[in-house]
């Protein structure tokens, strides 16, 4: 189900919220773009690019989530770089950032905007 917003952006429902394992991510494919969708242990949702810039592999969604000084994070499973789930910024190297996408939970579903 897709709804088009004013600025050519669309919201896409990718899965049920309840399907997401707390503390883990899944990959979604939206118009050919791979997006990593996370439900953190405290229950918040985040969507960032699925490509790990350090390895070139599309694996960010398979990382372990956590928190660092209150910042929600995910560690890439490839070489364990840690990214801020809110901004996509790599905490080990602030010059590198993953794209981020608006995400929300509505009527039991998880929606990502792109």
């Amino acid at each position: 189900m897709t709804v088009t917003a004013g600025k050519q952006r669309t919201w896409t429902a990718v899965c049920r919220y309840a399907e997401l394992t707390p503390g883990r991510g899944v990959a979604a494919l939206i118009d050919g773009v791979q997006i990593a969708v996370f439900r953190t242990t405290p229950g918040e949702l985040y969507a960032i690019g699925n490509r790990d810039p350090y390895s070139g592999a599309y694996v960010i969604s398979r990382g372990v989530t956590g928190s660092r000084d209150g910042i929600p994070t995910v560690a890439s499973p490839m070489y364990k770089h840690v990214f801020d789930l809110r901004s996509g910024t790599c905490l080990d190297d602030p010059t590198v950032a993953l794209p981020t996408y608006p995400i929300r939970r509505y009527r039991g579903l998880v929606w990502v905007q792109r």
Binding site: C15, V59, V64
Partner: protein, 886 residues
């Protein structure tokens, strides 16, 4: 180019070459350093030769060659032509020198008694000597050592280690007469007698009787006027050494009366171009030093004089030593015999316990020296004090009485003045160590070792280095990560004792207060929960232990454990079924081939005797497992920090040399420990005979068959820092072997740090291998019953993780590339073909999608309306994945 030639490549020659090479690297003029060595091998640690009887091999003792130094080994120097400044070697080669350093060491003195050169008579000096003794001793029963000094007791330890009935013949009235006084000798004697070594003091060796075939048959001994014969199969002469000074003698250099090339304070001989250092030199104080520390100090003097600045003159040396001979600690330092006028001594002696401690104290109350036998733990703090102006840190009684007897506080490094030498092997003072800590930021013992070389010689000062670090306020943090103050081992204990079975609870009750963990503590705790899976009641599902992907545990696992497969560089996974012991039927081999063919997987044989299938996408994994499980395979845990494989040679069933059934044993061990989660991966092997085809000595635990049973080795690994395993126990029965490995593994799981292999675990352990032996073989901590119980629970509760995953729809649901397009394979995983198989096609470049409009969370509010609008008519709760995004 300036030519510096060193003759002799023992410990001192090597050290000199190393120091010269360091200085040459910073020198403006080019220097060529050449070393001529008699032995064909690289320099090695002669002090620890006895380690060769304890499972080490010569490679473990070898020192790396200093960079840029030319080594000419196996070709001894035979003459020096001082006119032409040339050294000649046995092969006829000539080496021109500008400066020549003689470091030819010493040779063992063999008393010229009849029969001293019989077959079966040895000296104890080189690796070749040790190997000859080892070869000859096999199958023989009685050995004797002539000489009860330091070297003699080393040799006696070696004979004992080979299982020979061992005798020591000492001419003098007591053992180690150079280092200890009469009381110390008594304590040493009672300890050594207790070990089953027979000591004959005040006894002359008159002759070696030769039996049939020209081999040693008996020793003729004289005690006073009494003659007796001691039947022996082998004799080792360790009656002292003599300086190897003939090169100097023959070219006309002055030599001391009792040998040793005479040198001045800069270690120069009469010829200003020739230096002599170590055991071949007679120092200005008229002594020939037979210890390695003075040799190193002389090497330092020469290296500084030749290529550095301000050489420290070498006038005399400290003869302090601390040794462990036949397991008995012996230390002697400073003025051990109280030769200083007015010296007093304070004594503690317990002859039944074999303890003897003496402190020599000057008239002014300062410490001058001492002797410690049986317990030399105070050596590290007392020796640096001896001969300094520092006052005694406690009363002599407090310093001497055994710990726990109401004595004063343990000695701290505070008691030492800055000028005190902490490492006497490399002459490093407390001041320089503190400078390394404060000015160069050394934060652990390893850093201090690298920076100052302290602790890299005999190692006896290492505990003191640790104390200096803590005294300097350097906290060596054991915190697992920012979320837990505790080490992994402490968290394990907490889980074991409290039965806490969830990460969330552990974090809430024992963490630092953050609401979530991280990529370090989550997998570490997951591993602990899995290790204790059979024990934690609440972690069970229907009576069986929880699967590692059940409930909360799924969120904790690293990607490999999470997908029960090994992630590869392009995001695909590899699959390794268990092939216990490397034994596989043709039918099962065919199944693996068929699976690889049908899924198009790259196939490779691993080093652990199994088969790795690469290139599977996540959604293919359950299908691959289904095929493998149906054919009788199970997970090989290649993805886990767990037991990997137990490699084996073919063993006595087939091999004409094998003495035990190594494959059978490997299978038994692999099936017993499969799935056991541990701090790091665990590799193992079983060899069916001493030829060791399974390379068991490079494994975390390795088993080598003997005629009598099994020898167990522990703590080996390959990898970044290869290490040979240490011999742990000999000639075990199958039952003893398994019980010992059970305890070893469970104690490792309980006490190791995260990602710490058994090798570094043992190296870090206080008391090292001896402590580990005490815990596991003698139950010194009273832990064995619990270790046994935990292992029994593991064995009982094992189940195949692949089978459990494919039988659980909830788990299976996670094995899709895309949550909203489960049928779509990841389009980014692509392959090309090389050598007839696939390999990842890697796309390199900026990540696609970075040009996207980077909206972040701020847009979330406006999303509400949109989502509301979208969800309205459709009843979004009835979402069907195929419709998503349509």
């Amino acid at each position: 180019m300036r030519q510096i030639v060193i003759v002799g490549y023992g410990m001192v020659g090597h050290r000199c070459a190393e120091l010269l090479a360091e200085r040459a690297a910073n020198s403006t003029t080019p220097v060529q350093i050449t070393v001529l060595g008699e032995e064909p091998r690289e320099a090695y640690d002669r002090v620890h030769l006895s380690a060769l009887f304890d499972g080490k091999d010569p490679a473990d003792l070898t020192y790396p060659a200093p960079p840029g130094v030319e080594l000419k080994l196996g070709d001894p120097a035979t003459a020096i032509d001082r006119e032409r400044k040339v050294v000649m070697t046995a092969s006829g080669a000539e080496f021109r020198y500008d400066d020549l350093v003689l470091a030819t060491g010493s040779y063992p003195f063999v008393p010229p008694v009849p029969g001293h050169d019989a077959t079966g008579a040895f000296v104890y000096r080189t690796i070749d000597d040790v190997e000859a003794i080892k070869d000859f001793a096999a199958g023989r029963k009685v050995g004797a050592v002539v000489g009860g000094g330091l070297l003699g007791l080393e040799a006696a330890g070696a004979l004992k280690a080979m299982g020979l009935e061992t005798h020591v013949i000492e001419f003098g009235p007591r053992l180690m007469g150079v280092q200890v006084d009469e009381g110390g000798g008594q304590a040493l004697l009672s300890r050594i007698n207790d070990l089953g070594v027979t000591v004959h003091c005040s006894t002359r060796t008159e002759a070696v009787e030769i039996g049939e075939g020209g081999a040693v048959y008996a020793l003729v001994l004289a005690k006073g006027d009494d003659l007796s014969a001691l039947p022996v199969d082998l004799v080792v002469f360790a009656a002292g050494v003599r300086a190897r000074d003939q090169l100097g003698r023959e070219c006309g250099l002055a030599v001391g009366e009792r040998g040793g090339i005479r040198v001045d304070e800069l270690c120069r001989t009469e010829d200003p171009s020739i230096y002599a250092i170590g055991e071949c030199a007679q120092a200005v104080d008229g002594r020939v030093y037979g210890l390695v520390a003075p040799g190193y100090a002389m090497a330092e003097t020469v290296a500084d004089h030749l290529l550095g600045a301000d050489p420290a003159p070498f006038r005399s040396a400290d003869l302090s030593t601390k040794l462990k001979l036949l397991g008995v600690e012996v230390a002697s330092f400073g003025d051990a015999f109280g030769n200083t006028p007015g010296a007093l001594s304070a004594l503690y002696s317990d002859s039944t316990a074999g303890l003897y401690k003496k402190l020599v104290i000057g008239e002014d109350g300062r410490l001058l020296g001492g002797i410690l036998v049986g317990d030399a733990s105070a050596y590290a703090t007392l020796r640096p004090l001896a001969g300094t102006d520092a006052p005694l840190p406690a009363t002599p009684e407090q310093l001497l009485l055994p710990a726990g007897s109401g004595a004063g506080p343990a000695l701290g490094p505070d008691a030492l003045p800055d000028s005190a030498t902490v490492c006497s092997c490399h002459n490093v003072t407390k001041g320089s160590i503190n400078a390394a800590i404060h000015e160069q930021g050394c934060a652990d013992v390893a850093a201090i070792k690298g920076c100052t070389k302290a602790g890299t010689g005999c190692g006896s000062c290492v505990p003191l280095l640790g104390q200096l670090l803590s005294a300097a306020g350097v906290q060596t943090s054991k915190a697992l990560c920012r979320h837990f103050e505790q080490s992994r081992a402490e968290l394990y204990e907490i889980v074991l004792v409290t039965g806490i079975d969830s990460f969330a609870r552990l974090l809430a009750e024992h963490g630092n207060g953050e609401s979530d963990g991280c990529e370090i503590c989550k997998p570490a705790v997951a591993s602990i929960l899995a290790s204790l899976g059979g024990t934690l009641g609440a972690a069970k599902r229907n009576g069986a232990p929880k699967h590692i992907l059940d409930g909360e545990q799924a969120a904790l696992q690293d990607t490999n454990d999470h997908f029960l497969a090994n992630i590869q560089r392009n995001g695909s996974y590899s699959v390794v079924p268990r092939i216990p012991g490397g034994e596989i039927t043709p039918e099962k081999l065919i199944v693996i081939g068929e699976v690889a063919r049908d899924f198009g997987l790259y196939t490779k044989i691993t080093g652990g005797q199994r088969i790795d299938l690469f290139g599977a996408r996540v959604e293919q994994l359950p299908q691959i497992w289904r095929r493998l499980v149906d054919a009788g395979f199970e997970s090989g845990h290649a993805y886990g920090k767990a037991l990997r494989t137990v490699k084996s040679c073919v063993g006595s069933e087939w091999c004409r040399y094998g003495v035990q059934e190594s494959v059978k044993m490997a299978i038994e061990l692999e099936l017993r420990y499969r799935g056991l989660r541990s701090p790091h991966k665990v590799k193992a092997a079983v060899s069916g005979c001493a030829r060791e085809c399974a390379e068991a000595q490079s494994k975390d635990f390795g088993v080598i068959a003997t005629e009598q049973g099994w020898n167990l080795y522990v703590g080996g690994n390959g990898g970044f820092r290869p290490r040979h395993a240490d011999l742990f126990a000999k000639d075990l029965s199958t039952e003893e072997l398994i019980r010992t490995i059970d305890r070893f593994l469970m104690f490792y799981i309980r006490t190791a740090d995260r990602l710490e292999r058994t090798a570094s675990w043992i190296e870090r352990m206080e008391g090292g291998l001896d402590h580990l032996k005490a815990v596991i073989l003698e139950d010194s901590l009273g832990l064995c019953a619990e270790l046994d119980r935990l292992m029994a629970q593991h064995v009982e509760s094992y189940s195949d993780e692949w089978r459990a995953a494919i039988e659980d729809p909830e788990t299976l649901r996670r094995f899709v590339s895309f949550v909203n397009a489960p049928q779509t394979p990841d389009p980014e995983i692509k392959f090309e073909v090389e050598r007839g198989q696939i390999k990842p096609l890697l796309t390199i470049g900026p990540p696609p999608g970075r040009d996207l409009d980077q909206d972040s969370g701020s847009d979330r509010d406006s999303a509400d309306e949109l989502a509301e609008a979208a969800a309205g008519p459709d009843g979004a709760d009835s979402l069907v994945p195929a419709e998503v995004g349509a």
